[in-house]
C-alpha cells in the first residue's frame, strides 16, 4: 500500500474500496477492506467451508454401504471432494481471520459450541441409499445454483476457490443423478426410494436458499452481500432458478412433488409454491435438527481422539 493511501481518511478509503469493486476489481486478502465486509466474508466463507465438511458426513454414512464397486468408488470420490472444498474454503477464511488473531482451531471450537453454523440440509438424516443419491442430485444441484451466483465475487480468493469448487460440483450432480436414474428405472421398491427421498428433502431444498427477505426470520445477509458485490441474485431468484431447472425433471421421471400448490404462473413468470416452515432454519441453526447432534458428535469424537496426534505434530499448525 502506498503512502498516499495510508494518509486517506476512513471515508476516503471506503470510497476508494467501493470504487474498486464497482469497477469489477478483485479485493485480495491483504488489501484494506471495511470491517463489515471482512465480517460478512468470514461468516459466509467459514460457514460455507464448515458446511462442506459437515456435508461430507451424510454421504460418508453411505460410502461403506454403496451397492456396487462403481458406486463405492463414485461416492468415495465425492466425499473426498467435499472435504477438499472444506479445506480450500477454511484456508480462505483463515486468511481473513488473521487480523482477528483466530485460527482453524478456533473455527472448530466455534462449530462445537454452536457459534459457527452449517447449512440446514446437512442437519437432515440420510436414511436410505435413495437419500445418498438425492443429495448428489438436488442438494449439490442447489449448491451449484447458489455458488454460481458468487463466482464473480468481489473477494478474489473466494471467487477463485468457487471456480474450482463449482467445476467439481457439476460432477457431483451427475453422480447423484446417475444413482437416481438407476433407481428410477429399477424395481418398484427402488422407485419408491426416490419418491420417499423427494418427499423428505423437498422442504429442506427450499429452505436451503434462505428466506426471501428479512421478515421471515428476522435477519438476512443478502442485502449486504449484494451491496458489496459478493453475490448478484437474491435468495428468491435463486430458488426460482432451482424450480425452473428441476421441477420438470422430477415430474418427467414420474415422481410427485409434495406441494399441491406448486405451479408456474405465466403472467408473472414466477413459480408459486407453498412457503416452507421458515422457523426450521432457526431450529437447525441451534443444532436441533434430526441429525445435528449426531454429526457434531462425530466431529467432536474425532477431535478428541486425535488430540494426541495434534500434540505430537505440534508446533506444526493443524
Amino acid at each position: 500500500m502506498n503512502v498516499l493511501f495510508n494518509e486517506m481518511t476512513e471515508q476516503e478509503k471506503l470510497n476508494h474500496f467501493i470504487a474498486r469493486i464497482e469497477a469489477g476489481e478483485k479485493i485480495e486478502a491483504d488489501d484494506w477492506m471495511p470491517e463489515d465486509y471482512r465480517g460478512t466474508l468470514i461468516k459466509l466463507i467459514s460457514m460455507h467451508g464448515i458446511s462442506e465438511i459437515m456435508g461430507a458426513l451424510p454421504e460418508k454414512e453411505w460410502v461403506p454401504k454403496a451397492p456396487t464397486l462403481n458406486r463405492k468408488l463414485g461416492i468415495m470420490a465425492k466425499v473426498q471432494d467435499e472435504m477438499g472444498h472444506g479445506q480450500i474454503l477454511l484456508r480462505v477464511a483463515e486468511d481473513l481471520l488473521k487480523p482477528c488473531g483466530k485460527k482453524r482451531d478456533d473455527l472448530m471450537q466455534d462449530l462445537f459450541n454452536g457459534d459457527l453454523k452449517f447449512h440446514n440440509v446437512f442437519h437432515m438424516e440420510a436414511k436410505t441409499w435413495g437419500d445418498a443419491g438425492l443429495i448428489g442430485w438436488l442438494v449439490d444441484g442447489a449448491a451449484i445454483i447458489s455458488q454460481t451466483n458468487m463466482l464473480g465475487s468481489s473477494y478474489g480468493p473466494y471467487s477463485r476457490a468457487l471456480h474450482r469448487i463449482c467445476a467439481e460440483e457439476v460432477f457431483h450432480a451427475q453422480h447423484g443423478e446417475a444413482i437416481i436414474m438407476a433407481l428410477a428405472e429399477g424395481t418398484e421398491q427402488q422407485r419408491k426410494l426416490v419418491q420417499d427421498s423427494i418427499d423428505y428433502w423437498w422442504e429442506s431444498l427450499l429452505l436451503f436458499f434462505g428466506p426471501p427477505s428479512k421478515k421471515e426470520v428476522g435477519s438476512s445477509k443478502q442485502d449486504i452481500t449484494i451491496k458489496y458485490r459478493i453475490r448478484t441474485s437474491t435468495n428468491e431468484e435463486l430458488r426460482q432458478a432451482f424450480f425452473s431447472k428441476y421441477v420438470k425433471r422430477i415430474l418427467s421421471l414420474g415422481y410427485t412433488i409434495p406441494d399441491q400448490t406448486l405451479r408456474f404462473d405465466k403472467e408473472s413468470e414466477t413459480w408459486i409454491y407453498r412457503q416452507p416452515d421458515w422457523g426450521k432454519l432457526k431450529v437447525y441453526a441451534r443444532n436441533e435438527g434430526p441429525r445435528s447432534q449426531g454429526r457434531l458428535s462425530l466431529r467432536r469424537i474425532s477431535y478428541e481422539n486425535n488430540k494426541w496426534v495434534r500434540e505430537a505434530l505440534a508446533p506444526k499448525v493443524m
Binding site: 460410502v63 461403506p64 464397486l69 477438499g84 479445506q87 438407476a182 449426531g294 486425535n306 500434540e311
Partner: protein
C-alpha cells in the same frame, strides 16, 4: 489334479487374495472418512482408500473375466468363510460403529496402513513379472499409485514415532504390538502358495523382503528390529475369519443384499 486345473485354481486363489485384501482394507479406510486427525489428512487418506478400492475392483474384474461371476457379486455376496483376506486387515479400526461412536485409533491405522502398503508394494513389484499376463499388466498400473500411498504412510509412521512425544510413541508401539502377531497372514499365499510360486505367478519370500524393507525405517526411529510376526488368529487365506469381518460384510452389502437382482 491335472496341471491345467491346478494352474487355474492357483490363479483364482491369488486373485481372490489380492482382491479381498484391498477390498476390506479400503472398507476400513472408508470408515475413517471424516474422522482423520485433520482435514488435509482426510482428503489424502480418502484418496488412498479410493485408489485401493479401485485396485480391488480391478482384481475382481480379472476374476469375472475368468468366469468366476460378476465382480460386484464377488465383492458383496460372499460369506466370510469364502473370503481370502488376511485377518489383520479385517480387524475393526477400534471400538464403536462408524456412524455413531467410532473410538478409532489413528496409531493402529498408521501402523496397519504402512505395514500393509509395504507388503503390497513388494507383491505388486513381483506381480509385474507374473507368468499370468493379465495380472502382470494391471500390476503396472497399481504400482504407480502405490508409490504415493507408501510414501504417505511411511511419513506418518516416521513422524509419529520420531516425534519424541511419549504418548504418541507408546501408542505407536502398542499398535505395532497389536499388528505384528497377525501380520504373517498378509504374507501367506494360502494352501496353493507353493504352486503359485512354482508357476511363476508370484515370488515367494515376501516376509523376508518386507523385513528388509522396514528394518531401516525401524532403526531410523530407534525401534528394535526383532520382529515377532505371526498368524495368531489363523490364516484368512484359508477362510478363517473373525466376527469383525462378519460385521463389516453385513454393513458393506446392506444395500446390495436388499435386492441382489436389481441394477443399482
Amino acid at each position: 489334479m491335472k496341471n491345467e486345473a491346478l494352474k487355474n485354481i492357483s490363479i483364482k486363489e491369488l486373485l481372490l487374495q489380492l482382491a479381498d485384501d484391498d477390498f476390506i482394507h479400503s472398507y476400513r479406510g472408508a470408515e475413517w472418512l471424516g474422522l482423520a486427525p485433520h482435514i488435509e489428512e482426510d482428503v489424502a487418506s480418502a484418496s488412498i482408500s479410493q485408489d485401493t478400492m479401485g485396485h480391488a475392483a480391478i482384481f475382481y474384474k480379472l476374476l469375472e473375466e475368468l468366469g468366476e461371476g460378476d465382480a460386484d457379486r464377488l465383492a458383496h455376496d460372499r460369506p466370510a468363510k469364502e473370503r481370502r483376506n488376511a485377518i489383520i486387515l479385517e480387524a475393526a479400526n477400534g471400538p464403536g460403529y462408524y456412524m455413531k461412536d467410532p473410538d478409532y485409533d489413528w496409531a493402529f491405522a498408521v501402523v496397519r496402513n504402512y505395514f500393509y502398503t509395504e507388503a503390497k508394494a513388494i507383491k505388486i513389484q513381483s506381480l509385474q513379472s507374473s507368468s499370468y499376463e493379465p495380472l502382470a499388466e494391471v500390476a503396472q498400473k497399481v504400482q504407480m499409485e502405490l508409490y504415493y500411498h507408501l510414501m504417505h504412510w511411511k511419513m506418518w509412521f516416521v513422524q509419529l514415532l520420531g516425534s519424541h512425544h511419549a504418548d504418541a510413541v507408546s501408542r505407536m508401539k502398542a499398535a505395532i504390538d497389536k499388528t505384528l502377531p497377525d501380520f504373517a497372514g498378509v504374507f501367506s499365499l494360502g494352501q496353493y502358495g507353493e504352486e503359485m510360486v512354482e508357476l511363476g505367478l508370484i515370488d515367494g519370500g515376501i516376509q523376508k523382503k518386507w523385513v528388509e524393507a522396514v528394518t531401516p525405517i525401524f532403526e531410523s526411529v530407534g525401534l528394535a528390529t526383532t520382529f515377532k510376526i505371526g498368524m495368531a488368529k489363523g490364516d484368512g487365506r484359508n477362510g478363517v475369519h473373525t466376527e469383525d469381518l462378519e460385521a463389516a460384510l453385513e454393513t458393506l452389502s446392506e444395500v446390495y443384499a436388499s435386492d441382489k437382482a436389481a441394477s443399482w
